[in-house]
């Protein structure tokens, strides 16, 4: 919530003619695995796109579908949720609950005609810095292909630009 609100003021990333669209992606990372994985990617100096804004949460089980929807509504072009591998959750089962919930959310998003690729999920452990960099690269590539997120905008704003 707080991160998306903070980003609200900055508006769209300007995208001039011929320039590549740079998507803005909110990444919810769990404290014990994925955040440490992202840290490791940084420490190991792996290159990955700078389009993600990380929100650290204690467990991926904390990610309610509301957070994903609200991030998209508040102007994120994509959302990435990442947690520990199944079975490795610090709180034993948090990621399993999230997997159930968000899998259905993604299916419903698709059903309502929104590009499902805007919402990505991954399991990244604390030792997988390389995987984290790859996940971010794939996510950014996929969302870049989709273009700006317009379906969560009021029609006038969508047509008139900002």
């Amino acid at each position: 919530m707080s991160a998306t609100h903070a980003e609200k003021g900055t508006g769209e990333i300007p995208c001039a003619e011929g320039e590549q669209f740079e998507p803005k992606i909110v990444a919810f990372l769990c404290n014990w695995c994925s955040y440490a994985g992202a840290d490791l990617a940084g420490v190991s100096r792996l290159q990955y796109p700078t389009n993600i804004r990380i929100v650290r949460v204690m467990c991926s089980g904390r990610i309610s579908p509301m957070l994903v929807l609200r991030a998209l509504k508040d102007g994120a072009d994509g959302v990435l949720v990442s947690g520990c591998h199944p079975g490795d959750c610090h709180y034993l089962k948090g990621n399993l609950y999230t997997r159930r919930n968000l899998q259905l959310l993604r299916s419903m998003i698709e059903y309502m005609g929104i590009e499902p690729d805007r919402f990505q999920m991954s399991w990244v452990s604390a030792s997988e810095g390389g995987k984290f960099a790859d996940v971010v690269k794939t996510t950014v590539e996929k969302v870049r292909k989709l273009g700006p997120n317009t379906k969560f905008k009021v029609k006038e704003e969508r047509e008139g630009g900002e």
């Binding site: 399993l96 899998q103 259905l104 059903y111 309502m112 005609g113 999920m121 991954s122 969560f152």
Partner: protein, 307 residues
């Protein structure tokens, strides 16, 4: 339906009123109006026919939960049991509430009426769309059954499948039109038998105010969905309602029935039900004592789209 089942409803209701000391029996009058009958004369007005469209379970939940609380010496208040007349789809919702321990089995007296469809007053004498092909015509939980069971159909997913086959642009065009029509009156969540929270995060004005609620608390509620009515907010509202219904929605079609804009909201809940069935092989309110889908440990689930 015949007068035979009416007779039976009244007879059983009277018997239960006498023997079990029910607070009242919730049923329909012959015109289809929800009726609270607490005397034998009032029970004589109960009936069931094709114009009985309301799902009475939300009334039942309210009747029982409003009796709960503590007495002055800190003991639980005694809940006077309440009787209710349910159709097949209503009984599924009731079973779900019993499974979730919102209601206790000994607090309710259930008169089941097998139903072969009710008439949509807005469609000029035609059956409700949900009733044309219905897989839950017979009550699944009841104390007495008012008439013979009827033949059930296979669950019909054809409408959902038709939308699934559309291209993404077509689907968005369809939903954008539907969502553009929504006035967010919240009737769909108000009437939903399985939405029983005292305060709802989807409605910023819906705050359970107690004597000790401070102004600060009221002011600092998170605003998940803003109050403006436009396509994106409506989209978030309808999408956010669904995760709360995962493995709980019994597809009774009450949301669609009460919608003043006549939005086809069952297209969403039926799809959710279909997904739950296909991905997790789970059906809401299938049997007594069933665990909720979201509360089950699930190491064996497919990883699906997860990287």
């Amino acid at each position: 339906m015949s007068d035979l089942s009416d007779e039976r409803i009244r007879e059983e209701a009277k018997k239960a009123l006498r023997e079990k000391g029910l607070k009242c029996v919730i049923g329909w009058s012959a015109e289809g109006t929800p009726t609270f009958a607490s005397t034998e004369e009032e029970i004589d007005r109960l009936s069931f026919n094709r114009s009985c469209v309301n799902n009475l379970v939300p009334y039942l939940t309210y009747e029982i939960r409003s009796q709960r609380g503590k007495t002055r010496d800190g003991k639980d208040k005694v809940v006077v049991p309440v009787g209710v007349v349910v159709r097949g789809c209503d009984s599924k919702a009731l079973l779900l509430l019993l499974n979730e321990k919102i209601l206790a089995r000994n607090e309710v007296f259930i008169i089941g009426v097998p139903c072969s469809g009710v008439v949509d007053p807005r469609a000029g004498g035609a059956l409700f769309r949900k009733c044309v092909k219905c897989a839950m015509r017979n009550p699944v939980v009841f104390d007495v059954l008012a008439s013979e069971t009827v033949q059930e159909d296979e669950k019909d997913y054809s409408e959902v499948e038709a939308i699934e086959r559309m291209s993404q642009e077509e689907r968005w065009a369809l939903w954008e039109e539907i969502l553009g029509d929504c006035i967010r009156c919240h009737a769909c969540k108000r009437s939903c038998p399985v939405c029983y929270c005292d305060e709802c995060l989807l409605d910023p004005t819906d705050v359970a105010i107690k004597p000790d609620t401070t102004a600060e608390e009221k002011a600092h509620r998170p605003l998940w969905v803003e109050r403006s009515v436009n396509v994106p907010e409506n989209l978030v509202y309808h999408l956010a309602r669904l995760p709360h219904l995962v493995g709980r929605c019994v597809d009774c079609g009450e949301c669609e029935r009460v919608c003043p804009r006549r939005l086809p909201l069952r297209l969403l809940t039926t799809k959710l039900e279909k997904d739950v069935k296909e991905i997790f092989d789970y059906e809401a309110a299938k049997e007594e004592g069933q665990k909720p889908l979201i509360a089950m440990s699930c190491m064996e689930d497919e990883n699906g789209f997860i990287m």
